[in-house]
Amino acid sequence: MTKHFFGDTAVLLGRSLRHIMRSLDTIITTTIMPIAFMLLFVFVFGGAINSGSDSYVNYLLPGILIITIASGISYTAFRLFLDMKSGIFERFQSMPISRSSVLWAHVLTSLVAILVSLVVVVAVALLMGFRSGAGVLAWLAVAGILILFTLALTWIAVIPGLSAKSADGAIAFSYPLIFLPFISSAFVPTETMPVPVRVFAEYQPVTSIVNAIRDLFTQQPVDTDIWIALAWCVGILIVACTFAMVTYRRRIS
């Protein structure tokens, strides 16, 4: 069975990507909110925010990329939920295919769709004046962190996708994730926050991820932040993947 894993995953990935190509609105809605936040913060609030950076859009972009990922994974859960509900998931599971391919195809689709959204958001940021002198290696490091974070959140999204009773339930989990960057160093430096909020902000994953990406963009030496960021991503990935697999086993037995 597993000898067909790659072939079956590729076929099912092709199917999901075709879905996305035929409803590009999912990519558009994924990117609209982060872009709106970026416009709002750069052109409305930005002038009044002292970020300690010359260009606020440069300061802001890493946090906006995190919001893009968080809003993208709600569609991951939604697509999986639709497959569960329509019965096509059961049809695939009753066929002589590599069964885990069904799940992996959804995970890879999520990754591709979110990477496209990230490219769109970065392109808009460039139009708004975002500039970075980062070299190829730094850009690759940024891409690596974003891919890892996307995979971690995607596996979180698999859990409601498999177990939700309604479409609303399947996507509601992503809302708190979208707002997590607001209580971090993504929009303003944490120094001005009251102590309890500041403690939360400094010890939640978004701050270290945002700081690491920001350092890479501004060609600062990356300090311990990047290791904390990677530890968070890998940690979330392992925990979410484990719970997703438990949920999955429960659904197919």
């Binding site: 199917r15 329509s86 019965g87 096509i88 059961e90 002589p96």
Partner: protein
């Protein structure tokens, strides 16, 4: 296929039990389905028909009892079972966003067959879907969707097909189209396990009928045997109103399995509604 397999029944179920938390759905189900026959599992809503099908198609694990499909235990040789079967679900599990042809090609790819395009085209022709091949399935009528669903189940020539309430929610003509399709592939030696709530459907299709009631098989036999159990027929004179089916065929004609003719009829009904 080994000689051993050919002599054993296609489906063999003994003492099957399944509960969802405290709700006992199956309480010791026994039946056999002979190779090449159509077996109808008849029962009301919630009798546990779908649960039996899910266990036999390896989607659900039984709490107790044994079941084998094509000679393979569903619990021990799930992969071999999946290699022998095809499942057509209660809610036609077709991909709404893909076209009819893409759906067929997808399944042919997943069954690792050569030349998925030709397989798809042949089935589209056989199920009178060629004209609608390139259209998104979401634009299909209920009957066309179910025909596509059944066509998808036939890819790879599975030896055993599970048809879980294949005509639920279909209009009379679409129902007859599905029946014709089932009869046709059953003639080629495919074993069919059919679940239905409809005695008429069982009568039309099945060689053997079992009635599932409150988690057990209460009757299992051929139609003739079953009819002997019923009270003798009485002759009564009742004024017969035309049924919806009669009205339908009077207007549409009963010759076609042409999906487009029905689509046109449906469209004209729709547009006359809109005009109102």
């Amino acid at each position: 296929m080994t000689a051993n397999q050919t002599h054993r029944p296609a489906i063999h179920v003994r003492g099957l039990e399944k509960s969802y938390k405290k709700l006992e759905v199956l309480r010791g189900v026994d039946f056999d389905v002979a190779r090449g026959s159509i077996f109808a599992l008849l029962g009301s809503n919630g009798a546990g028909k779908a649960t039996v099908v899910k266990i036999l198609s390896t989607l659900l694990k039984a709490d107790a009892g044994t079941a084998s499909v094509n000679g393979f235990g569903v619990a021990t040789h799930a992969a071999d079972v999946r290699d022998s079967i095809s499942l057509t679900g209660q809610f036609a599990a077709v991909d709404e966003i893909l076209s009819g042809r893409e759906n067929l090609v997808l399944i042919a790819h997943l069954r690792h067959l050569k030349d998925p395009g030709t397989i798809a085209d042949d089935l589209l022709e056989r199920f009178a879907l060629t004209d609608a091949a390139a259209r998104k399935v979401s634009t299909y009528s209920g009957g066309m969707r179910r025909r596509l669903d059944i066509a998808m189940s036939l890819i790879g020539n599975p030896q055993i097909i599970f048809l879980d309430e294949p005509t639920t929610g279909l209009d009379p003509q679409a129902r007859i189209e599905v029946w014709q399709a089932v009869k046709e592939f059953a003639e080629h030696g495919t074993t069919v396990l059919l679940t239905t709530q409809d005695l008429d459907e069982a009568e039309q299709l099945a060689d053997r009928v079992a009635i599932l009631h409150q988690g057990r098989i209460i009757v299992n036999g051929t139609l003739t045997e079953l009819k002997q159990l019923l009270p003798p027929a009485k002759v009564e004179y009742v004024e017969k109103q035309p049924t919806l089916e009669d009205v339908f065929f009077a207007i549409v004609g009963d010759d076609g399995k042409d999906g487009d003719a029905r689509a046109t009829a449906a469209a004209s009904v729709r547009s006359s509604k809109e005009q109102r």
